[in-house]
Each structure stands twice: as C-alpha cells, then as structure tokens.
C-alpha cells in the first residue's frame, strides 16, 4: 500500500508542478491576478506531495518492504537503521526523488521569504522552478521510478554499496544536492528578471542571500565528499580530479564567481549581463554534474549507477534548459546597459580579476573532464587526463586569485589610487613574505619553493582579511555580519591554501611489507605491526590489524585499520586507521595478506591535512554569516513601507562593503 501512495503522490506532484509552471507565468504576462496568485499555493502543494512520496519510500526502507525493487536492491534487514535511511538516496532512483524534493523545499522557502518581492516577479520565479520540477519529475517517473514492485518477493534484500555505509557519505548527497539545486533559485531569479525586462539592482539583491546559502551547502557537500574519500577509500588522498569530483567543483567555481559578481551588480549596477550569464551557467553546470554522474558516460572511480537512456533524457533536458535560457539572454542582453563605469584601479577591477580567474579554472576543469569524451566520440582513441594537468593550471590561477583577494578588500568602488591601497597593505606584504620563508625553514623538514609560495599567499590573504576587519573602525560586535562573512570566508580560503600546499609538499607516503612484530620508522614515528585478527561487525566480517605508534619512548596511539567484507559479492572495503590532529595525521591502511603473517600496509604521515577541510568549514561559515546579514531583511521591510528613512550608519557601511 505504502509504495502505491508514494507513487500516486509523485504523479500528483507532477500535475501540480505543471500547473505551477504554466499558469503563474502566463498570468504575469497577461496580468491575470488569479493566475499569478496560483504560484504560492502550487509551490507549497508540490512540496507536500513530495514529502508524502519521500516519506513512503523511507518507510518502505525502514520496514524492509522487499516487494519494492529499489528497497530490495539497496537494503537488507541486517543493515543499521541509519544506513536504511541513507539508502533511500544511496542509488539512482531515490537520489532523484531527493533531488526533486529539495527543489520543492527551495521553492517553498522562496514562497515564504518573499515579502519584498512583487507578486508578478514571484510568480515568474516559482514558475521557472516549477518547470525544472516538471523535467525532473518526468525523468523520475518515466525512467527511474523508485516505487516499482518486484515479484516474487525476495526474503532478504541485497545491500547498500558498502562504500556508502558511512556517516560522512550518508549526509554527503543531501548537502551536495542542496547546493546544486539551490543554484536554481538564482537561475530562476535571473530568468524571471529577464522575462520582466527589468534587470536592476533589485534582482541581484534578492538573489544574493539565496546564492550564498546554496554555495554554503555545496561547499559542505564537496568537503564531506573529499573527507570521506580520504578516510574511506583507503588511499589517503583527498582530491583525485576524478570526473565526478570535477562535476561538483565546476558549479562551485562558477557559484563563487557569481557571489562576487552579484555584489558588483547590486552595488554598482555594473557587470549586469555577465551576472545573468553566471547565474545561468552555475545552474547549468549543476545539471551537467547530475548528467555526468548519472549517465555513465564517464569512466570514473566512482561512477555508481549508470544507464545510457537516462543519460540521454538528462542531456536533452540540459540542452533545453541551457538553450532556452541562452536564447532569452540573446534577446535581452543588448538592452542590459551597465551604467556603472569604473577605472583600471577600482574594486570592480579586483572583482573582475576574481571572476576571470575563477572562470579560467572552470574552463580548465571542464576541458580536462570533457576532452576525453570528445576525443573518444570522434574516434580519436581512449585518453585520460592526469591530475598533473589540473595541478599545473590551478596553481597559477589560484595564485592570481589569492593575490587579488588581498588588494580587493581595500580597493574603493569606481576609482582608487594604487599608492593609497599599497600604503595600507605594505606591512602585511612584508610580514607575509617573512612568514613564507620562516615556516619552511624553521618548522618543516626541508626547504621548498612551492611551500614558500603557498604560505606566502595564505598569510597574505588571511592577514589582509583580518586587517580589513580592524580597518572598519568599529567594535567587532557591531560590525555587519556581511563584513565578518567576507573576512571569515577569505581566511578559510587561506587556511585551505596552506593545508593543500603543505600537505602536498611535506607528506610522506609509503607502501611497505610488514611481518607480525616488525617495526617501521617514518618521520620520527615508529610503527609496530602486531598482526591481524578477524572480528565480526553488525553486517560484515573484518580483518582487523593492530599498529602501535610510538615516538622515542613516548607512546602515541594504537591504530586499528580494517579490511571489511560485507558479503553478497560486494567488494572488500578498506577502513583506514587514522590518528588525526591539528598539525598532522598519521594514516595506516591494510593492503592485502602476502602469506607468512606478512601484510602490505600503507603508512602515511600527512602534515596539516585537516586544514583542507577546516578551510572549507570556515568558508561555509563565512557564506552563512553573509547570507544572514540584516540588511537583506531591512531592505525587505523598507520596500514594504515605502517611507523615506534617515540614512543610518549601516547605510554608510553598505556603501563601503
């Protein structure tokens, strides 16, 4: 019964979505107030239908209803409850349902927090989101229905991909989807604004907090994925330039550019058409990401479910979305006159450099990811693009970005004097240079020019961000949240740059053969291998190793790396033993038994690797602060009551920020 209710609710959601995508937008075009008024109730009804549908699927998993094909393929009675729940989105069908559910949540939130938006604009925005919903609901119902029945009913289900049986990965897809789908809000605002023919500062101001929140989720999602790869794949790497990773990085890069470009459009009425284009691209790349991951066109280390027919559907949908929005853009863009002019030395210029660097990175990643597909389809052979390609290009681009970040904060809008900015930051420049040379010489094992560059950029970005907060000349508690947000996000970027550089340069990674009782020395630590025992987990059997780590006479930690087998023909899983810390991680993972009590073992010493994720966490926090700045709320109130207000202190602040 439950699956039928769920299926019915899904069909109902499609019907509601069709109404939502047709009538409000037509109403806006023909000035039909009744049709316009349909926008909010349909958006809410759609969310309700999808919640019911999603709850039915979740319930089917919880009661292990193996008459549902999707449940039987991804769950069994032995699995812990948390993984029964996360199995709902653990494979293709359910993850699509999650996708549309999240889209409905965003549309609902837009309908609730829309007090300052005119009813016509809101109708257009919700209609556009409805159209995206129609596309994905059709896709779900036609190619990947999660409620399909299975007969005869098996007594026991299969199992969730063991790789996904992990808390980090249980919440990774929802976070990532919140980010991907969140960019649909900025996209819908951009389309709606173009349809209305009024691309003023207002649409940018509305889109800003939404874009920030979507970006925060995407940042957390990517960071969780990278962290999971680090401790779960057992290779000790945290970024592989794998096509699936790249697919999530591209919308992030464009989203970051969009956040900065929206600021210019709102404050200075410049970059107008560029910002619209970025909003279109950020969401299109999110769709492309979904396509790349779901279609199986990519040979990836973690291309899970794949089916060419599904790929074709998303590809057509992608072409429709990108094509129609670019067409609309082609008609409207000539009318978008950016009124704000600026000089070569100005904050606009700083943000332009930021945008160029980020877009160049996106193009780099896009080419590296798609070029092999392209060559293959032309019959040019099977090629792969190795990580060095991405590294070679992202280092100089990252350096340009980081250099601009420091100056950018201090630049004035419209026109500034280079001498003025330089006089403010020259001490920071000096301190950053000294730090850059001292850190590798005093704290690290050897001198390396890449480390110098990385530490220099990291100190430069973080110190300028701090100095900038201090420059505001107010008590830290009275500063607008947006100032804190920008500063924290920049510091987060700096921490990440430092983490990436130092861990890349100074990590020691060894694969060794160890016999029980044998010792291995690395970076001052001694690793004693005490053999392997078999243990029984809730739904797996594991080979559990014991490695005692000491430094001199000081005992550090005892690590227990595992090799797990979840049965049912699934692949064995490597569970690394990690002693994490602020300054270094010790990472050990079991390879395979080599006979005679010997095992192959990975032993890694990775300095400051956690800074990579710490940096991402800080960036997310910064984005969150900026999104909740109170001026977005105040602006709404002001538009409700068009009363002339006295300019307040924070208005002056806005002009600066």
């Amino acid at each position: 019964m439950l699956p039928e209710i769920g299926h019915f609710a899904l069909v109902l959601a499609l019907v509601v979505a069709i109404v939502q995508s047709v009538f409000p937008i037509l109403g806006a075009a023909t000035n039909n107030a009744q049709w316009i008024a349909l926008a909010k109730p349909t958006a809410r009804a759609q969310l309700l239908c999808l919640i019911v549908s999603f709850a039915c699927l979740t319930a089917s998993f919880l009661i292990s209803d193996f008459s549902v094909l999707y449940v039987a393929s991804n769950s069994n009675t032995l699995m812990p409850t948390i993984y029964k729940v996360s199995a709902v989105w653990g494979a293709h069908e359910g993850s699509l349902l999650l996708w549309v559910l999240i889209l409905a949540v965003w549309a609902y939130l837009v309908s609730v927090f829309s007090k300052g938006i005119s009813a016509v604009m809101l109708a257009r925005v919700l209609s556009v989101m409805g159209m995206i919903g129609v596309g994905f609901l059709l896709f779900t119902l036609m190619t990947s229905n999660p409620f399909e029945r299975l007969f005869p009913i098996p007594l026991e289900g299969k199992t969730l991909n063991p790789l996904l049986q992990d808390p980090g990965l249980a919440i990774h897809p929802p976070m990532l989807y919140m980010g991907y789908v969140g960019f649909s809000v900025a996209f819908a605002f951009a389309i709606a604004a173009m349809l209305g023919g009024k691309l003023d500062a207002a649409w940018a101001r509305w889109a800003r907090p939404w874009t920030n929140i979507a970006w925060v989720f995407l940042t957390i999602g990517i960071a969780l994925g990278s962290w999971w790869a680090y401790y779960e794949l057992g290779w000790g790497g945290w970024w592989f330039w794998d096509p699936v990773e790249n697919a999530s990085l591209m919308p992030w890069l464009v989203g970051t550019a969009l956040i900065h470009s929206l600021a210019v459009t709102e404050k200075r009425a410049a970059f107008k058409s560029w910002t619209v284009l970025l909003a279109i691209f950020a969401f299109s790349l999110s769709l492309l990401g979904t396509f790349l991951v779901r279609s199986g066109v990519l040979t990836s280390v973690h291309a899970f479910a794949s089916d060419p027919e599904r790929g074709l559907f998303i590809l057509i949908f992608l072409i429709l979305v990108v094509g129609s929005s670019l067409l609309l853009y082609a008609f409207r863009a000539p009318k978008l006159k950016s009124t704000g002019t600026f000089d070569l030395v100005s904050r606009e210029m700083g943000l332009l450099v930021n945008n160029i660097a980020l877009i160049a990175m996106t193009v780099t990643v896009l080419l590296g990811t798609l070029y092999p597909l392209f060559v293959d389809s032309l019959g040019g052979g099977k090629i792969s693009v190795g990580p060095p390609y991405f590294n070679t290009l992202s280092i100089p681009l990252g350096a340009v970005l980081a250099s601009a970040m420091g100056f950018g904060l201090f630049l004035r809008w419209k026109k500034d004097k280079p001498e003025r900015v330089f006089s403010k930051v020259r001490w920071v420049l000096l301190v950053a240079l000294v730090t850059a040379f001292l850190v590798p010489i005093l704290l690290m094992d050897f001198f390396d020019i890449k480390a110098v560059l990385g530490v220099f950029l990291a100190s430069w970005v973080s110190l300028t961000a701090l100095l900038w907060v201090q420059e505001q000349g107010r008590s830290p508690f009275k500063l607008p949240l947006a100032v804190w947000g920008a500063s924290i996000a920049h510091i987060g970027f700096a921490v990440m740059v430092a983490g990436i550089t130092l861990t890349s340069v100074y990590s020691t990674e060894k694969d060794v053969r160890l016999v029980q009782g044998q010792n291995y020395e690395m970076s001052g630590y001694s690793f004693l291998f005490n053999g392997v025992k078999e243990i029984q987990g809730p739904n797996y059997i594991a080979q559990r190793g014991e490695i005692v780590v000491t430094r001199g006479s000081e005992s550090i930690v005892t690590l227990h790396p595992e090799k797990r087998n979840y049965g049912q023909d699934t692949m064995p899983m490597t569970e690394a033993g990690i002693d994490g810390g602020f300054f270094r991680d010790l990472f050990v993972a079991l390879g395979e038994p080599l006979g005679n009590d010997a095992w192959s073992v990975r032993i890694y010493h990775k300095p400051v690797v956690n800074w990579v994720w710490l940096g991402a966490a800080l960036m997310s926090l910064g984005g969150l602060f900026a999104a909740f700045d109170k001026r977005y709320r105040r602006v709404r109130r002001r538009e409700e009551k068009p009363v002339v207000q006295q300019p307040t202190k924070s208005d002056v602040k806005e002009a600066v920020a």
Binding site: L163, G234, G296, T299, V301, H302, A303, F304, T341, D343, L344, I356, A360, V363, T364, L367, G368, Y371, D376, G381, K382, I383, S384, V385, G386, P388, Y389, T392, L393, P396, L397, D511, V512, R513, D569, T570, M571, P572, M573, T574, G591, E592, L594, S600, R602
Partner: protein, 153 residues
C-alpha cells in the same frame, strides 16, 4: 585617460588573459594525456616507449608474482588471444584487483616492452569491465571477452 583609451586597455588585457590561458591549457593538456592501449597494440610496437600511457586487459591466471622481502610484484595483462604484456609494480594493489579480471595500468613502457606501472586501477564496481576497456579490446579484430557471459577461458 579617455573612455576610448580605457576601453582599449581593457580589451588588450582581456585578449592577453585569453591567449595566456589557452597556451597554458594546451601545453598542460599535451604533457598529461595518457592513451589507453590493448596488449596487442603494445606488442605490435605501435606504442611509444618512456611516455605516460595506459594499458588495459585481463590479469592472466597464475601470473601474479610477489617478492618475499618487499612489495615488488609483477603480473601479466592479456586479451583472450594470447597477447601478453608484463607489468611491474611496487605499491599496494587495489581491493578489486584479481586474476582473470580486468585492470587498467598507468605508467611507462621500457625498451623490453615491460610496463613499469605508477598506478593500477581496478574499477570500483564488482560486476562490469570498464566500458572504455571493452571498446579498446573489441577494436583488435576479435570479440571482447565479456565477463558476464564467459564461463571458462
């Protein structure tokens, strides 16, 4: 500066940025592309030596040999037509690496046509052979060994 001069400066800077990044991307791409070859092509001498390439095939039964004192190992990649390429490797093999299963090896070919592997990939999917590998093996005149229907060989 007049508005016109300013625009010219902007355009020149923009062109420089585009040109610079195109050159960088092309160069980086050229030095980091790795083609995938089948054992037959390697034996035919059509594959450059000492250049980063990938070789894919099936791991020959009984060919995995390990050193008793270190991690050094070697195995043979084959198709189902008797073309064999020896691979040497000194790190930990991936979890899914098994004899009689497919594997893709990234590394360089030495002058004795032995593949010195930097990385061994066995796909993160227990059921299928990677699509691209299936294609490459298929190209060499004979049907690709399809794991799902194959019983013995």
């Amino acid at each position: 500066m007049t508005a016109r001069q300013k625009r010219i400066v902007f355009i020149i800077l923009g062109l420089c940025a585009v040109a610079g990044s195109s050159v960088m991307i092309t160069k980086a791409m050229q030095s980091n592309l790795a083609y995938l070859y089948a054992p037959e092509t390697v034996l035919a001498g059509e594959v450059p030596e000492n250049k980063l390439i990938r070789v894919g095939g099936l791991v020959k039964k009984g060919s995995l040999k390990r050193s008793d004192t270190s991690l050094d190992l070697s195995f043979v990649l084959t198709d189902n037509r008797g073309n064999e390429v020896t691979v040497t490797y000194d790190r930990i093999l991936p979890d899914l690496f098994k004899e009689e299963q497919s594997a893709v090896v990234r590394g360089k070919l030495n002058s004795d046509k032995v593949m010195i592997a930097e990385e061994v990939l066995a796909k993160h999917d227990a059921e299928y052979m990677p699509e691209e590998l299936k294609d490459v093996l298929k190209k060499e005149h004979a049907p690709a060994p399809d794991k799902t229907t194959e019983v013995t060989y």
